[in-house]
């Protein structure tokens, strides 16, 4: 399997992205931002299409759009906790950007298979250059995570306490949103813009009932993301069916097991 270049690239990129998303997902869940993350990903779709239209790579287009949106979300106060108004705003923003994505794709005269690969992932279609870009972006986000780890941890897992201690400052939210934007952009290269939940939300949600510390949450979440990604690639290789399908199925199974455990343990 590893004799094939495209499979090697897929494993390299998949591994790095699974580590990144497993770790970031823990904070996305604690800050209750899964839906906001999904919206960023849909905005990313229009970014990727825009990139294709103007001659950038889909990843670059996606990063531009998601970072700008993360900054806008922060200005609008959507980066904090989830609330009812943000639901309505998020629906409107999602709809608009998905439409915009279709427009850009049509302008760039790409065929529908291109849209499919952006929306549902195309991990086995990536090349050496893509891998390098994905690895660099992922390392930058992981480095930022390491640097702000304790403050982010306090602010995400006890916002009230952090506010009293003046730890909960605006720049933590801002940096975190940019980190999410970058994570979404690289994750979408693997599982597609529509299935971002698969790597950014499910592993950390599945880890929850088994963990009592932020570090163990991150560890279990990363391991679950890695098993899903590796298992998905291997099964995709064996069966020639879409890798994304297998990753989504494996992660959903983990989530079901975890949900059952939570029920039984309660």
């Amino acid at each position: 399997m590893f004799a094939l270049n495209f499979m090697r690239y897929a494993f390299e990129a998949g591994t790095v992205v699974a580590i990144l998303c497993g770790a970031m997902g823990v904070f996305v869940a604690a800050r209750r931002l899964p839906f906001m993350t999904h919206t960023l990903s849909e905005i990313g779709f229009s970014g990727a299409s825009f990139g294709v239209w103007v001659g950038l790579s889909p990843l670059q287009g996606m990063m531009i759009f998601t970072i700008l949106s993360a900054l806008a979300a922060d200005r609008l106060g959507l980066g904090d906790n989830h609330n009812d108004t943000s639901d309505a705003v998020i629906s409107a923003v999602s709809a608009f950007f998905m439409g915009l994505g279709v427009l850009f794709l049509s302008l760039s005269s790409q065929n529908s298979s291109y849209a499919t690969s952006i929306l549902f992932g195309s991990i086995v279609g990536i090349n050496q250059g893509n891998v390098t870009q994905i690895v660099i972006v992922s390392l930058i986000v992981l480095l930022a995570l390491a640097l702000i780890y304790r403050r982010l941890k306090f602010d995400s897992f006890d916002a009230t306490g952090a506010e009293i201690e003046h730890v909960s400052s605006h720049w933590i939210t801002l940096i975190f949103l940019v980190m999410v934007a970058l994570s979404v952009s690289v994750a979408a290269q693997i599982v597609g813009a529509l299935l971002i939940f698969v790597l950014l939300t499910l592993p950390s949600a599945s880890a929850q009932p088994f963990c009592r510390s932020v570090s163990s949450l991150m560890l279990v979440s990363v391991v679950l993301a890695l098993i899903g990604t590796w298992g998905g690639l291997y099964l995709g290789y064996l069966t020639n069916l879409p890798v994304t399908f297998f990753i989504a199925t494996i992660e959903t199974c983990f989530y079901l097991i975890s949900a059952i455990y939570r029920r039984v343990a309660a």
């Binding site: 640097l147 304790r150 306090f154 006890d158 009230t160 201690e165 009592r212 570090s215």
Partner: protein, 227 residues
């Protein structure tokens, strides 16, 4: 000892109003070190505003507040807010929740000294045996004691508790107040306890300040008698 060295907080001729609403006027008060000071009054009478004035988050309309030198360092004031967003699915253990406050470091893991700080706070709040308990699944009293433990992590001189017993049953109320009393007596922490609960105030408090529609009353809790 001079009065200055025994008083932690001195309010002189303090007045506070929001627009035309006068919360209190000409408030004179000394909170001595080691006091168990209770702040009483219905909602909207100025309890929270009084705390904000102490913390320097609001400026008084008139008069002044003098804080002892050590309170100028924010780490010396612990504050337990009334509401906290901890639901049943909250995953962290009590120990890890308490340690969250140690956020001023770039090291991802806790140092030996930080670990012993956490252990001490858990010990003081009687949570050592419960430290591995998931906070989301802890009882109301345990949760409040975990919030207390986090607030006293840096061994503050002053601990402000904003209605910590409001949502607790009777047993849990006493469990929390006994913990607070122990902090007050053994660690010498000065307590400001905001509450509606006269029974708890007269049982545990030393001095009180009651706001009542622009008026205030102050004295020792012994004066409250069987109120």
């Amino acid at each position: 000892m001079t009065e200055l060295s025994t008083s932690l907080i001195t309010c002189s001729h303090l007045s506070m109003a929001f627009g035309s609403k006068q919360l209190f006027t000409d408030l004179n008060l000394i909170i001595p070190r080691g006091d168990f000071f209770c702040l009483l009054g219905a909602n909207g009478t100025g309890k929270t505003t009084f705390i904000k004035l102490l913390l320097g988050k609001e400026m008084p309309t008139d008069g002044k507040i003098e804080l002892a030198a050590e309170l100028h360092n924010a780490a010396n004031i612990g504050y337990v807010p009334q509401f906290r967003n901890i639901d049943a699915n909250y995953p962290l253990s009590i120990q890890n929740f308490v340690a969250l406050k140690l956020s001023n470091s770039f090291k991802p893991w806790l140092s030996k000294q930080e670990k012993s700080q956490v252990a001490q706070a858990l010990e003081l709040t009687g949570l050592t045996a419960k430290q591995q308990q998931v906070l989301g699944k802890a009882s109301g009293g345990e949760k409040q004691r975990a919030y207390l433990a986090q607030a006293i992590l840096k061994q503050p001189e002053l601990l402000i508790l904003d209605e910590p017993t409001a949502s607790l049953d009777k047993t849990a109320k006493y469990e929390v107040l006994e913990t607070v009393k122990r902090l007050n007596e053994t660690a010498g922490t000065t307590i400001i306890f905001i509450s509606h609960d006269w029974v708890l105030v007269s049982k545990y408090g030393k001095h009180y300040l009651e706001f009542d529609n622009g008026q205030y009353k102050t004295g020792t809790t012994a004066d409250l008698g069987g109120k």
